[in-house]
């Protein structure tokens, strides 16, 4: 059986059926892209996996256990990144570190935050607020925030939608590079385990989907 499994999943909002009879199996370490028009329900599907929404019928399973609500084992890079605008880049990542790695002593939490900010190349920009950095940089903050949670599944909701075409092409490569880098990084491997993250990506752009 697959790592992430959707069994006969349907989702309706009132009389409006968004998803019907969806079956999907994703293997561990796989990258799966969901492509479709805007409004076809792919973001809804991502929200079901994230646990932010519940299916009307059917079940979503991760490692054989049903998903009952949102949790850090399924980290989301939101469509508009949803960085907290009143926190600095550093604080945006650190607040997640502190929420998830609660048993870690403070110096190690700081180390974790620093390491992931260096990984995405934003350590020099750590004191800036989201309003002061570019869209591409915001995306990297959102990615660092998601990866630092050490999720089982990484969910990317239209990760390039808010970017212009030129930046997008660069960031598609960069996202994969960072995804590799996080898995190859010895420091991270020793703490978070060695395998690549399972990735579920939602996009309306076929270029985004077939990029690898």
């Amino acid at each position: 059986m697959g790592y992430l499994v959707l069994q006969d999943v349907s989702k309706s909002f009132g009389a409006h059926h968004v998803l019907e009879g969806i079956n999907l199996e994703v293997a561990r370490g796989e990258i799966v892209a969901l492509i479709g028009h805007s409004g076809c329900g792919k973001s809804t599907l991502l929200n079901l996996v994230a646990g932010l929404d519940r299916p009307t019928s059917g079940t979503v399973l991760l490692e054989g256990r049903p998903i009952l609500g949102p949790g850090p084992d399924r980290a989301v890079v939101f469509q508009n990144y949803a960085l907290l605008p009143w926190l600095t880049v550093y604080e945006n990542v650190h607040v997640v570190v502190s929420s998830i790695h609660r048993t870690l002593p403070l110096p190690e939490r700081a180390e974790l935050t620093e390491h992931f900010l260096r990984l995405v190349g934003l350590w020099e920009h750590r004191s800036k607020r989201p309003g002061q950095i570019s869209g591409g940089m915001k995306q990297r903050v959102a990615l660092a925030r998601a990866l630092v949670a050490n999720p089982k599944v990484l969910l990317l909701d239209e990760p390039f939608a808010a970017l212009d075409a030129l930046t997008r092409a660069i960031l598609q490569d960069e996202l994969l590079r960072l995804w590799d880098a996080a898995a190859m990084d010895r420091w991270i491997r020793s703490r978070f385990g060695a395998e690549h993250k399972t990735v579920l990506l939602v996009t309306h752009d076929i270029d985004d989907a077939r990029h690898r």
């Binding site: 646990g51 949790g71 850090p72 949803a82 009143w86 607040v95 997640v96 929420s99």
Partner: protein, 272 residues
């Protein structure tokens, strides 16, 4: 084609645009005050000779502000002392009102059932003139000074309560999702998401509340007597000195304007 990049120095005026705009504003303000003074002068000389004219009033005003802090017994104090007494009551009452309104507002904004419980009560009590609470304060607290503070607390309660509830209930869905996905504790959610988002709303509530409180304190002190700028106005009326009444009106306006401007600057800085 050969091109040269010509860097032209921008035309540099002798004073900056901002400074010029400020000058224009100042000139218009002076013009506005001038018109009102002219009207006042005309009224007091033609239609209503019982009113003091601006010249006489400013004579009294100058006298009042040259010795603002003299203290010659309970019925004869400088206008600065009276203003300070009023400000003291306003800040004390305001602090009490805000201390009650903030937690209640957060509760109302965060919980549907708390809102259902409290909102009808708030909607009924809010339109009541705060002065109506004066006898209640008098009966419960046995002092007209404390009754004034009580009235101010009631006054500042509603705007802060309503604005805090509005701010808390309007946290964008995406920030709530972030908190859920990354397992924020209640405390983290409150301090890193809810309060920073609500702060501009809350400070706007402060601004409205303080503005109304500054109006209400005058009425309250007229009733309470003893000290304060409201008492000063009533006392001046009894002494048949409308010059002092006008002077007090001008000073109350200036103090209110200063408080409102200070909070306005704070709101604008938060909005950025």
């Amino acid at each position: 084609m050969q091109g040269t990049i010509v860097s032209r120095k921008p035309f540099a005026p002798s004073i900056s645009i901002a400074a010029r705009r400020a000058l224009v504003q100042l000139r218009n303000a002076a013009l506005g005050f001038g018109l009102v003074l002219a009207l006042w002068y005309g009224l007091s000389h033609v239609f209503a000779p019982q009113l003091p004219d601006p010249v006489r009033t400013f004579g009294v005003f100058r006298e009042l502000v040259t010795h603002p802090f003299y203290d010659a017994g309970p019925n004869d104090k400088g206008i600065g002392l009276q203003l300070l007494a009023s400000l003291g009551r306003v800040f004390l009452g305001f602090s009490i009102g805000v201390a009650l309104a903030l937690p209640l507002g957060i509760l109302m904004g965060a919980s549907e059932s708390a809102r259902g419980l409290l909102n009808p009560v708030v909607q009924i009590l809010r339109p009541v003139s705060p002065m109506a609470w004066f006898p209640v304060g008098l009966a419960a607290l046995h002092s007209s000074h404390r009754a004034s503070v009580f009235v101010i607390a009631v006054t500042s309660l509603w705007p802060t309560l309503i604005n805090t509830a509005l701010g808390v209930s309007s946290v964008p869905l995406e920030y709530r999702h972030v908190a859920q996905v990354y397992g924020f504790s209640r405390w983290t959610y409150l301090t890193k998401v809810v309060l920073p988002h609500s702060l501009p709303y809350i400070v706007t509530g402060f601004r409205v509340g303080l503005g109304v409180a500054w109006m209400v304190i005058v009425a309250s002190e007229m009733l309470a007597g003893g000290t304060g700028i409201g008492f000063f106005i009533w006392d001046s009326w009894n002494a048949l000195s409308l010059e002092q009444v006008f002077s007090a009106i001008l000073l109350i306006g200036c103090v209110g304007w200063a408080m409102d401007t200070a909070l306005g600057v704070w709101v604008r800085r938060l909005g950025r």
